[in-house]
């Protein structure tokens, strides 16, 4: 059952029906889904949610969709204790939310599942998106499942693995020569010119809501409580704001206690407009020209940057950036301690986690959740220098002369 009532302008409060629209006609403020929280609270219980599907759809009542979801099996990804990494960093209660384990290997499936479900409800036959790579794959895959056509637009210099994992679903692939911000500009023109459902433009209010489920899951998996700290990477800033919103909704609905979580927004130093604003103590998120290996989060003019900034401040959190070298180190550290292979966005998270643990911002007892939002399998080229096999002939002698095995006594028979 859906409790969504309308779209409401965050600036002037103007109301619109639940249609494909992201800006208020009057003041051009962003639109958000408004819900009947009173009715929602009366019907939702922890038990009811826990009895639901082992996927993001256990929270369907908190999402703006009416009918059957377009379901690839997204969500309810593992929240694993990261004791090895924690020991190294001096953190005793560190968790990894492993959102690599979604159908197209990134958290974007959460947002796209809701937006595509809504697109189908609204009668769209073609969907599209402006993407830094992960969104493209998710949109193409969901389009197939929903029986819709798709067009995906991305900067031509993104990683090959992102392009291949999108192309395999056979969308119309459009590589745009320019930065993501240029792709985004173009897509804003296309929204006006074609009647398509652009997942992150005219369907953005629905897309945004899907990301809340990451916050819900963290709380449920911790035994219905919000952690002391969450670290999440920001591009447009949307995910970060929606994790925060998700936790606060659960609290408002009486499903968890008060939220005392400090939200830490992390970005790559080469694309950190939100962090810059945080550090300068200003409310202005000034656009930048991105230059970083973390291409998935290289967004120079973040549409929800100001709201992410607000969430970091309001929660008593921080915003931090890490260099490209620290991103690579972060990817390696996570892989070598916890067995999780992340893309650069996760390297940013681990790099920042390490700094914050060292500087004492995160204390050893804090229940800390690091969100790993996309898989390293799509961005292998940036760590391909890890591959240094010892090449041998298929004989015991060759093995023993080439491979140094420390402190082993050979078996006696």
């Amino acid at each position: 059952m859906s409790y969504a009532l309308s779209l409401r302008c965050r600036k002037c409060g103007g109301e619109y029906p639940l249609q494909a629209q992201n800006l208020c006609d009057f003041c051009f403020g962003p639109l958000d889904v408004a819900y009947d929280y009173k009715a929602m609270a009366a019907s939702l219980t922890r038990d009811k949610i826990a009895r639901g599907p082992v996927s993001m759809w256990r929270y369907a009542d908190l999402l703006p969709i009416a009918g059957e979801p377009v379901d690839l099996g997204t969500g309810f990804t593992p929240l694993t204790r990261a004791d090895n990494l924690g020991r190294l960093l001096g953190l005793e209660q560190l968790y990894i939310k492993n959102d690599c384990l979604n159908p197209t290997w990134s958290f974007k499936d959460r947002a796209v599942a809701v937006a595509v479900t809504k697109a189908r409800e609204l009668g769209f036959t073609t969907i599209a998106c402006a993407s830094t790579g992960n969104l493209a794959a998710s949109v193409a895959a969901h389009a197939v499942k929903a029986g819709l056509k798709s067009y995906v637009f991305f900067p031509s210099d993104i990683e090959q693995g992102k392009i291949v994992s999108t192309a395999i679903h056979n969308p119309t692939l459009v590589a745009v020569q320019g930065s993501y911000d240029k792709v985004n500009h173009l897509c804003h023109r296309l929204v006006e010119a074609y009647g398509w459902g652009f997942i992150n433009i005219n369907l953005r209010p629905y897309y945004a809501e899907g990301s809340k489920t990451l916050g819900y899951e963290i709380a449920e998996q911790l035994g219905w409580r919000s952690p002391d700290r969450i670290l999440a990477p920001s591009a447009s800033g949307l995910l970060f704001t929606r994790i925060w919103k998700g936790l606060n909704e659960l609290s408002m609905l009486g499903l968890i206690g008060p939220v005392n979580t400090h939200m830490h927004c992390v970005q790559a130093a080469g694309s950190s407009p939100i962090v810059n604003a945080f550090e300068n103590g200003t409310l202005h998120v000034l656009p930048v020209e991105p230059q970083t290996i973390a291409k998935s989060i290289a967004v120079g003019n973040p549409a929800d940057g100001n709201y992410a900034l607000k969430a970091a401040r309001e929660s008593g959190g921080t915003a931090a950036s890490v260099s490209d070298d620290e991103i690579i180190e972060g990817i390696r550290l996570l892989a070598e301690t916890e067995g999780i292979f992340s893309e650069p966005a996760g390297g940013v998270v681990i790099g920042a986690l390490r700094k914050m643990a060292k500087s004492g911002i995160i204390r050893s007892q804090d229940v800390t959740v690091a969100c790993i939002t996309g898989s390293g399998l799509k961005t292998q080229e940036i760590v391909s220098d890890s591959v240094r096999p010892v090449t041998i002939e298929p004989s015991l002698q060759s093995f023993e002369s080439m491979v140094c095995v420390p402190n082993v006594t050979a078996a006696s028979d």
Partner: protein
């Protein structure tokens, strides 16, 4: 005729200049400001432009040439 919703982000040296007025004058586009925040050293304006497509394009190129960043209106830069 076309309509475009855009956001201009001004560098400090352009804050005190009548850019939007001149845009309307030079390119024959109707400029309709919806929201703005301008302080002594920085500012942004969200506005709607109405005019012939080529005039809008020409006007936006002219604005960008002044060092003013032009983006589609989406979300926003400042919580008012």
């Amino acid at each position: 005729m076309g309509i475009r919703r855009v956001m201009f982000t001004f560098p400090p040296e352009r804050i005190d200049q009548p850019v939007i007025y001149n845009l309307g004058l030079k390119y024959n586009v109707v400029t309709n400001i919806r929201r703005a925040d301008v302080t002594a050293d920085r500012g942004w304006v969200i506005l709607e432009l109405e005019g012939a497509e080529e005039d809008i394009e020409g006007g936006l190129a002219w604005v960008a040439g002044l060092g003013i960043r032009v983006d589609p209106a989406a979300g926003d830069a400042l919580e008012g």
